[in-house]
């Protein structure tokens, strides 16, 4: 009874009439439609991320048609198949099939007499049998349209054997770059990336933290300091390729004696110009400096003022306060910010191309003054090639790069969690 009364009162207070009802319904309908639109946009973002990852995995694994240059059966000696032959016969095969110059090169690397049978066998497979990937299929086709793929392969490549290839495997990570997609690996690129990043950190971390300390703890409201602050914010928005050009003009060209190592008498006869890991590292350092400073400032700002006052109250100087109290408390935040900045630097490609990464390099970098290539550059160069097999190894290299970034970001998250727990307790 009472309930009914309230209801009638409630509806009575609302305007009546058909026009209102229609308007009311339409407004709510619009609300529902747009809700779906907003939600769909979010889902699109996630779908795209999934598509991106799927696309990479799709390229990194799959069936491949492999064709031998020379049929191993024709190499059999007196009815003994190739894989059962002893070392002497294998060496004979090499001598029959390879040029004198190539043989001499192998001999000088390691005399045949000292090589094991397996080693010689590998050489025969690599140089005489020469298996070549003639066509590759994506993971999706290999799994779900296998019969169609096999039929097409049997028709187009009757001599080839079809194998399931994983383009990323331990060998891929440990072998150097090669012009042959099957033998190519990312060892040189990984080492190049690590060297470059090491220099970036050594350069950018102290300077970035120093600038952050200055701006948060020392800087007064003076026009110079305001300019520095505005300038840092603007630098964070400059396209990375501009930093590459700055690096090219300053580190590579103007500081060539320093960046090529001639100043220290460390010249590598193959480089003798400034396009070295050193230049690349400094360029990336300049690039992430604004990020480290901005993140560092936030971390320092989060340190409670009571700590500083307590320290001053005990008679500590400004620097003692900063060094013993502010920095240790801000450190996890600073490190998290630095790791995020470094993971940005690891993925940077454009500035390093401008600075002058080598297009083809198979030797491990030996120090800061050697030529370099990095993982993203390797990915770029392989992606830019028209052959499908290079796309496959590019996908493999992308997985390596993403794994590296994932590890870095995970450590940043761990640091942040540990830090926030400590503040709460």
């Amino acid at each position: 009874m009472a309930d009914q009364q309230v209801r009638t009162q409630g509806t009575a207070s609302l305007p009546q009439g058909e026009g209102f009802q229609e308007n009311f319904a339409a407004r709510h309908r619009a609300g529902r439609v747009w809700y779906v639109v907003f939600q769909a946009s979010t889902i699109i973002g996630i779908v795209v991320l999934t598509a991106l990852l799927y696309n990479i995995v799709n390229g990194a694994f799959g069936l491949a048609a492999i064709q031998n240059e020379v049929n191993p059966e024709t190499l059999a000696v007196e009815g003994v198949p190739l894989d059962k032959l002893d070392k002497q016969h294998l060496v004979d095969i090499l001598q029959q099939n390879l040029s004198k110059g190539l043989l001499r090169r192998f001999e000088s690397e390691q005399p045949f007499a000292e090589r094991t049978r397996e080693d010689v066998y590998d050489l025969v497979i690599e140089r005489v049998v020469e298996p070549q990937v003639v066509h590759t299929w994506s993971l999706y086709d290999s799994l779900f349209r296998r019969s169609a793929v096999l039929a097409a392969a049997a028709e187009d490549y009757p001599d080839a054997r079809i194998e399931f290839m994983s383009w990323i495997d331990p060998k891929f990570v440990t072998t150097p770059q090669s012009s042959d997609p099957e033998k190519a690996g990312v060892r040189t690129a990984i080492l190049g990336s690590l060297w470059t990043i090491a220099i970036t950190i050594v350069f950018a971390f102290p300077l970035g933290v120093g600038a952050a300390i200055y701006l948060e703890e020392y800087a007064t409201d003076h026009w110079v300091n305001r300019i520095i602050q505005t300038n840092i914010n603007n630098l964070a928005g400059v396209p990375s390729i501009i930093y590459g050009m700055l690096g090219l003009a300053i580190f590579v060209r103007a500081l060539e004696p320093l960046s090529s190592g001639t100043l220290f008498g460390l010249t590598d006869p193959t480089t003798a110009n400034g396009r070295t890991i050193f230049s690349a590292g400094l360029t990336l350092g300049l690039l992430i400096l604004p990020l480290i400073i901005i993140n560092g400032q936030e971390a320092i700002r989060a340190v409670p003022d009571s700590l500083r006052r307590a320290s001053y109250g005990l008679g500590a100087t400004k620097w003692q306060t900063v060094w013993h109290h502010v920095l240790p408390n801000a450190l996890p935040g600073i490190l998290t910010g630095t790791i995020l900045a470094v993971s940005r630097a690891i993925g940077e490609t454009a500035p390093l191309i401008v600075v002058g990464a080598s297009t083809f390099i198979t030797v491990d970098p030996s120090g800061p003054f050697s030529k370099f290539t990095t993982l993203p550059i390797q990915i770029y160069q392989w992606t830019a090639r028209p052959q499908d097999e290079f796309r496959n190894i590019a996908a493999g290299a992308i997985i390596v790069l993403l794994a590296l970034l994932l590890a870095l970001n995970a450590s940043a998250v761990l640091l942040r969690n540990r830090y926030s727990r400590r503040v709460r307790s």
């Binding site: 407004r27 619009a30 609300g31 747009w34 809700y35 907003f38 946009s41 979010t42 699109i44 973002g45 996630i46 991320l49 598509a51 991106l52 696309n55 390229g59 102290p206 300077l207 970035g208 120093g210 600038a211 300390i213 200055y214 020392y218 520095i228 300038n231 840092i232 603007n234 630098l235 928005g237 396209p239 990375s240 390729i241 050009m245 700055l246 003009a249 060209r253 400096l289 604004p290 400073i293 008679g315 400004k318 620097w319 003692q320 690891i346 993925g347 490609t349 454009a350 191309i353 401008v354 993203p376 990915i379 770029y380 992606t383 796309r391 590019a394 992308i398 790069l401 970034l405 970001n409």
Partner: protein, 400 residues
């Protein structure tokens, strides 16, 4: 630390023993702290390095651009001397046809530079031995070159970019950049704003806690990976939907769409921050007046956060213009003045990467030209960033 402790101890001892006069050995004036000052100086230098970086960018890009605009390029006129010219002659007969010359042009025959004083059909009167070159005699049939400086007008209005034959009009590169950026904005702005509204107004805390980090992953993926994505998934998709004959393998549409995906998290997270900064009381007032959730979001919250959202859009535009690897991989090589998004065209950034990818020799016209493009890119993106900061500062609605 150590010696300060001892000073304090000595001071207190002095006060305790000499209870009438404070010991003169205790100097209570402010002492110069050299170490502190040195440290502060060093920290200031760290901060000032950022200014040095900006100055370095402007100076280096400016210097190389300047030499780009003042470099003398010799263009073949397809004209030759009709008869041999000896050291004394100032009027020659030259072949008609080829590139038209006019009075005042600087020409070069062999190594000698001359200025045309009067030009009368096939007869040309010149001033000889300019720019420190020696006056020598030239045999008949010698080719004549005309000096062709890159003028600012040509640079900003020319429609052909072809350094090999001395054409330096930046428009083909600019239109390509505009097209990729436009595509990126068409994708990223509506999607990014929708995502931001959803996350800030509709999503539960739990959904937000899951969705936001996932979207942030998109922002952390290196751009070269997006380039791979554009070339191996987006382009084949476009070709399948629109037909392989309309869509070229390298095209600006595919690159633009993928740039849009790249900057989507930037737009959404900056806009979301702006939306969440709008105080709850505004929303509650709107609900109290009977507004639906959509009306509250679109007519109250979004207008209140408009400055932040605009800033996000501008920053995203600047990012799209400066994006390099996606266009380098997927948009194609070779400048092409076209407004067809399904054809290949080279953007400013793509051109810089392609030119500097080879072994670039210093002070060549290619080397200087990329710095001129870079300087333009720097000013465009810098002014966009400055505008966005201004907007945030000027138009931010401050709520108590």
């Amino acid at each position: 630390m150590q010696d300060e402790m001892t000073t304090v101890a000595k001071g207190s001892v002095a006060v305790a023993t000499g209870n009438v006069v404070i010991d003169a050995a205790v100097d209570l004036r402010k002492r110069p702290r050299i170490r502190e000052a040195l440290i502060q100086g060093f920290l200031f230098l760290c901060g000032a390095l950022s200014i040095l970086t900006t100055v370095g960018i402007v100076f280096e890009l400016g210097k190389e651009s300047l030499s780009f605009f003042s470099q003398q390029l010799w263009e073949d006129t397809n004209k030759q001397l009709v008869v041999a010219a000896d050291v004394e002659m100032t009027t020659f007969e030259i072949v008609e046809g080829g590139k038209a010359l006019q009075g005042g042009d600087i020409i070069r025959i062999n190594d000698e530079v001359m200025r045309i004083v009067v030009l009368d059909g096939g007869l040309v009167t010149v001033e000889r031995g300019l720019q420190g070159t020696r006056v020598v005699s030239h045999s008949a049939e010698t080719d004549i070159f005309v000096s062709n400086k890159v003028s600012l007008t040509e640079f900003f209005t020319g429609t052909k970019w072809n350094p090999q034959i001395g054409q330096f009009g930046i428009w083909p590169l600019v239109t390509a950049t505009l097209m990729t950026s436009a595509f990126a904005m068409i994708i990223a702005l509506p999607l990014g704003l929708s995502v931001a509204i959803y996350l800030s107004e509709y999503a539960s805390d739990r959904a937000r806690g899951i969705l936001k980090p996932i979207l942030e992953i998109l922002a952390g993926i290196p751009t070269v990976v997006y380039g791979y994505f554009a070339l191996t998934l987006m382009t084949p998709l476009l070709r399948k939907v629109l037909g392989a004959e309309t869509v070229q393998i390298y095209n600006t549409a595919s690159a633009g769409i993928v740039i849009g995906i790249l900057i989507l998290p930037l737009v959404s997270s900056m806009s979301e921050d702006a939306l969440r900064a709008v105080p709850r009381s505004l929303r509650e007032a709107a609900y109290g007046l009977g507004a639906t959730k959509l009306e509250t979001a679109v007519k109250v919250v979004v207008p209140a956060a408009l400055s932040g959202i605009t800033a996000a859009f501008i920053v995203a535009t600047s990012r799209a213009i400066g994006e390099t690897m996606i266009v380098a991989v997927a948009a194609g090589a070779g400048p092409n003045l076209t407004f067809n998004p399904f054809q290949s065209a080279e953007t400013m950034t793509g051109h810089i990467v392609r030119i500097s990818g080879g072994d670039l020799s210093y002070d060549s016209i290619d080397y200087n030209s990329i710095f001129a493009i870079g300087l333009m890119l720097f000013f465009v993106t810098l002014s966009l960033n400055v505008i966005s900061q201004r907007i945030v500062r000027r138009f931010r609605e401050v709520y108590e």
